[in-house]
């Protein structure tokens, strides 16, 4: 099926070339980082993780979200999703690849990466995270490929693949739970030390991941005419709406616990994010309020059916939702966890230009992989008449 990549329209190759040049810029910035070290980033002794790890976290969520198509389709035999499922699985593959790249770019000694496998340490959550991510990549590649191959030959997928499909459902939950455990088990980091972390991660993932998928699928429909079906879009939107409502609810639970209990440690990160700490308002304050307003706005646009089912409003609602969830998880989560620092003071963090360049480069690589995989899937579907 790989050969499908070789027969594309000029526009497709120009698109790849465009992404490739952005990725090139990222690679250039990364070489710069290899040369001088992570000193070129905005990270510091007190805020020792930054944009890379937060993007890793965000995209684990995007990867896990494929389950929102797989679960209804295979557990509840919801046939309408069958057409789109492969796109979800392929998006999961590219998201996991991006996660891995973000981990590598964050390492101080990337050439020693294999130490995690050479000296396996079962008490470290990072060890499990690496295992489950690689497992998820494998499962999605296998399931995606086998089902697509079957579609191409117009036969039913082999029976044994069912096992891996069911496994992928459990596995999707596990990858994001384990990622939450990276944070939720650290004493002394108040913003992260919360039992609801994994649940929050999953709910925000199941809102933002399918939203990104739907936005991309709508773009695809414009570009290629591939139609996932109106009902499929509406059902997925409902799932997104529920997930987002639960996500906002979970966040409010955090706010309640922190402020009603009156415990300073629990309040400080939230106060820092939304008003500033000790009279020190940081640049994130504006972003966090934007996220809060956009999150509510997205719910206002998604909950009433007349807006939700209106395909002119829907892309806006989804886009707003993605921005809100990205600020919350891709920015606030990390910064709030590290500020105030262990000395209850504030050390500011802001990503630097090279750091942003590397990040955008990884996005571009992820999009390239996604474009190639989706092209293969769509070409097969065209041939098989399931377009």
């Amino acid at each position: 099926m790989i050969e499908k990549v070789l027969k594309g329209s000029p526009a497709f190759y120009i698109w790849l070339l465009f992404l490739g040049s952005i990725a090139g810029l990222g690679v250039f910035a990364y070489i710069f980082q290899l040369q001088y070290g992570l000193t070129i980033t905005g990270m510091s002794r007190d805020v020792s993780w930054g944009l890379y790890i937060s993007q890793f976290t965000y995209f684990v969520g995007v990867a896990a979200s494929a389950v929102m198509l797989v679960l209804p389709a295979y557990f509840h035999h919801y046939k309408k999703f069958k057409k789109m499922i492969i796109l979800g699985e392929f998006m999961a593959i590219s998201a996991v690849l991006m996660c891995m790249l973000f981990i590598v770019t964050d390492m101080g000694q990337p050439q020693r990466m294999l130490n995690v496998i050479l000296h396996p340490t079962p008490n470290s959550i990072m060890f499990y995270d690496m295992m489950v991510l690689m497992g998820y990549l494998f499962i999605n590649a296998l399931v995606g490929w086998v089902t697509l191959e079957a579609e191409r030959h117009d036969v039913d997928p082999p029976k044994w693949i069912k096992f891996f499909i069911y496994l992928s459902v459990v596995w999707a939950f596990s990858i994001h739970t384990v990622t939450a455990f990276l944070y939720a088990g650290l004493p002394g980091r108040h913003y992260w030390l919360t039992a609801i972390m994994a649940a929050r991660f999953l709910s925000s993932a199941f809102a933002s991941g399918p939203a990104i998928l739907l936005l991309l699928v709508m773009a695809l429909r414009r570009l290629t005419g591939f139609d996932p079906g109106r009902e499929a879009i509406q059902t997925l939107t409902k799932i997104i709406t529920y997930a987002m409502a639960i996500n906002v609810f979970f966040f409010l639970l955090e706010v309640f616990t922190a402020f009603y209990s009156g415990m300073p440690g629990h309040q400080h990160p939230l106060t820092f994010l939304f008003v500033g700490h000790d009279g020190h308002a940081s640049w994130v304050v504006g972003w966090m309020w934007t996220a809060a307003v956009l999150a509510i706005l997205s719910l206002c646009l998604l909950i009433p059916p007349q807006f939700r089912d209106n395909e002119r409003v829907l892309p806006w609602a989804l886009g707003i939702l993605v921005i809100a969830s990205w600020i919350d998880k891709g920015l606030g989560l990390l910064i709030g966890g590290f500020t105030p620092n262990p000395f209850e003071t504030v050390t500011e963090y802001a990503p630097t230009f090279p750091e942003i360049l590397v990040t955008v480069g990884v996005y571009a690589i992820g999009l390239m992989v996604l474009s190639v995989l989706w092209k293969i899937a769509l070409d097969v579907k065209k041939e098989a008449g399931t377009f």
Binding site: G37, L38, S44, G108, Q109, H119, P187, R189
Partner: protein, 259 residues
């Protein structure tokens, strides 16, 4: 170190069994003697303890010179660079009471206590989160309670820095060597991309010396075995009121403060 030697002897023992001769064992013993680590001397001058701990008698530390002398003693023997940015590296440093003891024990502390500087360093926790989270065992706890690092195994993931509730760890964001004025050749310098922290002077204990900061403190910092009721640290703790940093999070710090 001694594991490789032991493993070697085990294999040699099996080989000797197969050969049915004891001379092979003798030969193996001779070879093993020259293997790296074979001359590792656990007797001699080496200082040992069941659980190393430190007591800082803050009453005996007064002036800025006291602190600077102690900090300099540590940083100069351990080749700790002075980097003037947020990406700094420090093994031992000072801060005010409410930043060191963030639990805010009393709202109306005597001004003398509140305004004073306190030394901070790695606590060599009994239950260290940094060890728990490290994915490569580059940070590990020794049998005598000291939490040490292998700079050659560290992948620079900085999970341990997120894990340490005391901000005791520093990361080499860039190459630290240009920031070193005088290099102590007896101690390794670090490379870019690895984490480092106070070692409780494990390398000095090995040769029978007390930690550099203890030596430079003129008796204000005590060091000894927490499991030995007659050790200087236990005696000081028995006779004085002492506190530790963030006691509620269950890490059981090995650094005590007499205030």
């Amino acid at each position: 170190m001694s594991t490789t030697r032991r493993q070697f002897l085990k294999i040699a023992g099996l080989a000797a069994f197969g050969l049915g001769t004891s001379s092979a064992l003798d030969a193996a013993e001779a070879v093993a003697k020259d293997m790296p680590g074979a001359k590792y001397d656990v007797g001699g001058k080496h200082l040992a303890a069941k659980r190393w701990a430190m007591v800082i008698d803050t009453r005996k530390l007064e002036s800025r010179e006291d602190y600077d002398r102690i900090i300099h003693a540590c940083h100069s023997v351990h080749n700790v660079p002075s980097i003037p940015t947020k990406q700094e590296i420090k093994w031992i440093w000072t801060d005010k009471y409410d930043r060191v003891f963030t639990d805010d024990m009393s709202q109306h502390l005597s001004p003398a206590v509140r305004e004073k500087d306190y030394l901070l360093l790695c606590n060599h926790c009994e239950n260290p989160p940094c060890v728990r989270v490290c994915p490569t065992k580059a940070t590990f706890k020794r049998a005598d309670g000291i939490v040490v690092m292998d700079y050659h195994r560290c992948i620079g993931c900085r999970f341990c820095m997120a894990g340490c509730p005391y901000g005791a760890r520093s990361f080499n964001f860039g190459d630290p060597r240009p920031y070193l004025k005088d290099v102590n050749p007896a101690f390794p310098t670090r490379m870019r991309g690895v984490v480092e922290k106070c070692t409780f002077c494990s390398e000095r204990l090995e040769v029978g010396l007390l930690p550099a900061c203890v030596e430079a403190s003129n008796g204000a910092i005590l060091f000894g075995d927490l499991d030995d009721p007659n050790s200087p640290v236990r005696k000081a703790l028995a006779e004085n009121f002492s506190i530790r940093r963030k006691p509620s999070i269950g890490t059981q710090p090995g650094v005590y403060y007499i205030v």
